[in-house]
Amino acid sequence: MAMENAAPLKLLGSWASSYTHRVQLALRLKGLEFEYAEEDLGSKSEALLRHNPVYKKVPVLVLPDGRALAESAVILHYLDDAFPAARQLLPADPFDRAVARFWCHFSDDKLGPAVGAVFASTGEEQEAAVRQVHENLALLEAELREGAFRGRRFFGGDEVGFLDVVLGCGSYWLAVFEEVTGVRLVDADAFPLFHSWLRDFESQEEVRETIPSVDRLVDYARGLRQMLLAMAAGACAPSDGAVASNAAPPSAAPPAPATADIAVDI
């Protein structure tokens, strides 16, 4: 692919979007140059609306020829396919690829929405959501302990791979939400392997370059939680602005009517 005179890859994203982080991290791990454009989700650019008319969400990857791709997992697969000489994120073996894809779906369809539900609720509803998160983490812990990923430092093996990127760019919210809601989500005693994996993941250079500081995330999360709880209480109408989800769970049952449309970006 002759890229010398073409514009580089361009990523439209949002600084607090874990789906954006997935793509940024993937590009960095692969050593691919890219331009980044921050989107104001409260006032979406013409480019974003034109490149992703179906969902109107970030991240969007704009290719040198002007064509664009949306949906983080789709983009991650594309980067592997389009740059075969660069570091591959998916494993080589088809069965291992299937396992990685399965847990990617799990992260997006089960774990993510459950964590979002903890964040968007209080009281009994929140307790139920916390139990759900713990059940989901227990499944991952079991795979790390005696299942598909036993004995590995990362889900990808010795090095960070596709599933690490997917799960990792999102798992930092666990600590942030713990701080903001006061609820314990990742107990190092209950989930020792998940806990140590997350610590190893976050210590990687490319990850540190990608994930924003905890302070910034906590501030952002505090504001978001206030807004979500106010909406749940019926104080104001939901807006598509800063609270816009970046990949609402497709067919997952909504936790409660007021928060149904708000899948906190995880």
Partner: protein, 229 residues
């Protein structure tokens, strides 16, 4: 690959149908284990403990779960005609619309069929809106050729096509059209073409059979529920 291939599922599930179509396209022989209506087998529960859902593909005894994951696995493991396009961008486009189709169609069709609660007219409108999007996607992906995959059908054809029997069943039950020549002419023609294909013909469930099946399933689930202590 000479290891045995088993599909655990049901003839009425579009997620199962799409796996069978893919295997047929690749010329792979497999054993089909039909689940009993309204009840999950030990094998299914053991093979997919996380979701407890069909389909499960067992290849040499190892389970692969989630239909889109299975389709890609089948494509990567078995030789023969490629299911996903060769070009990276087109592969991405197929993956994008496959996720879209499942997100927009699955639950809405179940609502139309009365398998879950919800307003049938709203659900029909959601399905119609999604099909109008897929009509445009078909124009773009096919470039005027017969299928999303071009000259022959591929990943996206299989994913969207697996719902065709359900469109018919949902329309009969809800009394509302969703796939018709007037609003989505290309898609309507494509659907007929897809169903007539020799790799699909014997696998696409008949709409009337699906309507009947829905009744049987509802009855079985109600019976199960009334048996619980």
């Amino acid at each position: 690959m000479s290891e045995p291939v088993v599909v655990v599922g049901g003839w009425a599930s579009p997620f199962v149908t799409r796996v069978c179509i893919a295997l047929k396209l690749k010329g792979v022989e497999y054993e089909f284990l039909q689940e009993a209506v309204g009840r999950k087998s030990e094998l299914l529960l053991r093979s997919n403990p996380v979701h407890k859902k069909m389909p499960v593909l067992l290849h040499g005894g190892r389970p692969v779960c989630e239909s889109l994951v299975i389709l890609q696995y089948v494509d990567e493991v078995f030789p023969g005609s490629s299911i996903l396009p060769a070009d990276p961008y087109h592969r991405a486009v197929h993956r994008f619309w496959a996720e879209y189709a499942d997100a927009k169609l699955h639950t809405a069709l179940r609502t139309m069929r009365g398998m879950v609660g919800g307003d049938k007219a709203d659900a029909a409108e959601q399905v119609s809106a999604a099909l109008r999007q897929l009509e445009d996607a078909l124009a773009e992906c096919s470039g005027g050729k017969p299928y999303f995959g071009g000259d022959d059908f591929g990943f996206l054809d299989i994913v969207v096509g697996s719902y065709i029997g359900w469109f018919g069943a949902a329309e009969k039950i809800a009394g509302l059209r969703v796939l018709d020549e007037a609003s989505t002419p290309r898609l309507a023609a494509w659907a007929a073409r897809f169903c007539a294909h020799e790799a699909v013909r014997d696998l696409m469930p008949d709409a009337d059979r699906l309507v009947e099946f829905g009744e049987v399933l509802r009855a079985a689930l109600a019976a199960n529920a009334s048996c619980r202590p």
